[in-house]
């Protein structure tokens, strides 16, 4: 325990757990932003030992390609969670958007398919926003309900069987969205990079981003700062919808087929990635760098397990455990330790959890 009493004490009356000297980048602060990235780097550094095949170029390409749709939706979801809500309907949205996109493609080619994807995603987001702001249904329930509804509509649209891309379309520009490489980098991953760049600017460098974080941090205080709850909600859920629209384009051009059951449980995967990245479920904090790294971490881990021949059942177990371990570190930190003191977090692991140890 620190006996360093000469330091200035600006925060005597503040809650004990917040009593660090901020301003300087401390280990804890760095961990907040870069912790998951560091774990990802460690994992990658270990790959030559564990899975030498992993580093093969074609394998790397496929990992990045597969991670794109999860990553793009996770970017949108980061905003929702930062605003203190989450969208449980993204799985239903992805299924519905994929089905509509395929219908659009068979009716009017690439242009119509792209337009249909984004428009359907946006429409789904606006439906959620309408329920939440107009009818005042809590976001959790509203999106739980629309999860059923969107999936149901997708089922109805595919009653005659799943929609698929015909094989003879392999040369069309639409299918190339999923297959093309730009300078060796898969196009879906390029799209994901662009999405994250834009999202980062939106969250960190615009008034809207500040307002979303403010609303997530304290809805009541935000209201008295002149921030409109309705606008925040509409913006955030529309954003999630659009992100699903973009993601569906990279998804459907990889798997070629969709029906109502596509990507069952997707919503939980997305939320897990965002939280793993370090965005707090309580709202008010959001880190896109963290989300990005978490998405890659999950994808890389998945790929390694597959390449090692681990049965898919065990892959689930490993991924679940990773989630718990990561969140445990985070939970211990926020509960017992000052944000500035990572050492303290480790000390809690070996000592009885208490604000201050007995004399």
């Amino acid at each position: 325990m620190s006996t360093d009493t000469q330091t200035p004490k600006p925060a005597r009356s503040a809650p004990a757990s917040r009593a660090d000297r901020a301003g300087r980048p401390t280990l804890g602060k760095l961990w907040d932003t870069w912790g998951i990235t560091a774990i990802l780097a460690l994992l990658l550094a270990a790959t030559p030992l564990v899975a030498p095949d992993f580093l093969e170029f074609s394998n790397l390409q496929s990992v990045l390609r597969e991670s794109a749709y999860l990553g793009i939706v996770a970017a949108g979801m980061t905003f929702a969670i930062a605003s203190g809500a989450f969208d449980l309907s993204v799985g239903g949205q992805l299924a519905l958007v994929s089905v509509v996109t395929l219908i659009g493609y068979s009716a009017g080619g690439t242009a119509l398919a792209v337009a249909a994807a984004v428009a359907t995603g946006l429409a789904c987001g606006l439906v959620n926003a309408g329920l939440i702001t107009g009818l005042r249904v809590p976001p959790f329930v509203a999106t739980l309900g629309t999860l059923f509804v969107f999936r149901g509509v997708a089922y109805i649209l595919t009653q005659d069987g799943p929609k698929t891309l015909p094989y003879d379309q392999i040369g069309s520009p639409f299918v190339k969205i999923g297959g093309l490489n730009v300078a060796g980098i898969p196009l879906p991953f390029v799209i994901m990079l662009v999405v994250y760049g834009a999202a980062w600017l939106l969250l960190r460098r615009t008034a809207t981003g500040r307002r979303i974080l403010s609303y997530g941090s304290s809805p009541a205080a935000a209201r008295f700062c002149g921030i409109s709850e309705t606008r925040i909600r509409i913006f955030v859920f529309a954003l999630v919808g659009v992100s699903v629209g973009i993601a569906a384009l990279t998804y459907i051009t990889r798997v070629w087929t969709a029906d109502g059951s596509a990507q069952d449980g997707f919503e939980l995967k997305v939320i897990a990635a965002v939280v793993l990245g370090g965005t707090s479920l309580k709202g008010g904090k959001g880190t896109l760098i963290g989300t990005f790294s978490a998405v890659l971490l999950v994808s890389v881990l998945n790929d390694m397990l597959v390449s090692q021949g681990v049965p898919s059942a065990y892959q689930r177990i490993v991924l679940g455990c990773v989630l718990i371990v990561a969140l445990t570190i985070d939970g211990l930190r926020t509960r017992f330790a000052a944000p500035g003191s990572f050492r303290r977090a480790l000390s809690v692991l070996v000592q009885r959890p208490s604000p201050v140890d007995g004399a």
């Binding site: 005597r12 301003g23 700062c225 208490s354 604000p355």
Partner: protein, 515 residues
Amino acid sequence: MTADNTSPEDPPLLHVDRLTVEFPGVRALDGVHFDVRGGEVHALVGENGAGKSTLLKVLGGLHRPSAGEVRLGGQPYRPRRPADALHAGIAVIYQEFNLYPDLTVAENVYSGREPYGRFSRGIRYAEINRRSAELFGILGVHIDPAATVDSLTVSEQQLVEIAKALSVDGRIIVMDEPTAALSADEATRLLDVVRRLRSEGRSVVYVSHRLDEVFAVADRVTVLRDGRHVRTAALADTDPDELVRLMVGRDIAAAAPRAGVAGDEVVLDLAGVSAGRQLRDVSLTVRAGEIVGIGGVAGAGQPEVSQVIFGALPITAGTMTFDGAPYRPGSPADAMAAGIGFLHEDRKAAGLLPDLSVRDNLTISVLGRLRHALTRLLSPAAQAGVFADYRNRLAIRTTGPDQLIGQLSGGNQQKVLLGRALAPGGRLLILNEPTRGVDIGAKFEIHQLINELTADGAAVLMISSDLPELLGISDRVYVLAGGQVVGHLTGADLTEENVIMCATTERRIFSPAGV
């Protein structure tokens, strides 16, 4: 000399010896001595951050000391959890309410100690309802024990907290700012209850910012400053001036002198404004350069008046005029656009953005004009500029613009929020309880700042439950009761007696300068 039942040579009931409490990077208590005798009221005073709350939390079993010892009745007292403290007969009423809004009053009072049937395992509701009603009888209020707590007013909730502590039947009852949310009348009754507890031989540790209460009820007083013990004295041996000096560590004037000059130009005018059942037929004016106060007992409609003006509460009748034009805001955003700055009375619940930096907290109301003209992106430099401006002007003590606001002391948090209200540069400032929970030094600075603002021509509407503050810096005061204006005091009429008279009796006083 004092009213204790034991002679000073007897070992005290509670003895705190060289108590030190450390948090990472901060020593909240540093070798503090403190003792409580049987049957005495011992006041604990000090500025915010002096360590009072930490000491209480050690007694209540919420914090554990890093060094030092606490003895209770001669035995070592080391509570590991709140239940241990209750068991030992120490009941603590913390400053933050610790109530369950969804449960009934009686369930709250007897939480964790509910009597229950042996076979049915059912709680004996008849018994806890009756016993709760008896406790409220002692406190002189009528609160339905079967009502849910979320249906109570703030002062009723405070009384439930007090009843909870009384129900423990403890040897030592610790009260942290128990009158903060109470009306003058309720506060008086609470002080009677404290005296009654003493006469029953129980001890009370009484923490308060209000020195008049301390002198009215306590036998001894201990002053803490910066986590250290400064002095313990019998009340008879000291006076308020000395206590203030010991708390602050320097001499300080009681209230800042008025600097602003009231102009003639009417900035805000309310005519017959009503809002549902909460406000009825409220008329008032605020002129440029003027500080207008609003007073009254808790729950008389003061925050509602401010929220109507700020567009946070819809108006159901009457008209408002702002800057000479009809004014009807639909939301706080409208009010801000019109040029009104607002400070909420509840800093924690509706003021702070706890996850954001002090810079973001301060500039959130003016982000629109901190954008790059072409890209529409926020300019970090412009944000930093605005922040540096107010940091200097308000003397905000912070380690830097990126510090989280939760890490500042109450007074500095309040200054940041004042900066937020000022930043848009509006003509009218609505300040709800501008110095609530703020230590004396910061209070003085805030008063000075409000003065300077009016000297620059701003109009200030200040709502305060702190009577000396209300009377000390306001040019005029409106008194509210039951959502109506029941008094308008200026000049020589501006006295504590008149405010209390209007607020609590049928008498109406309208000074000649008139509404």
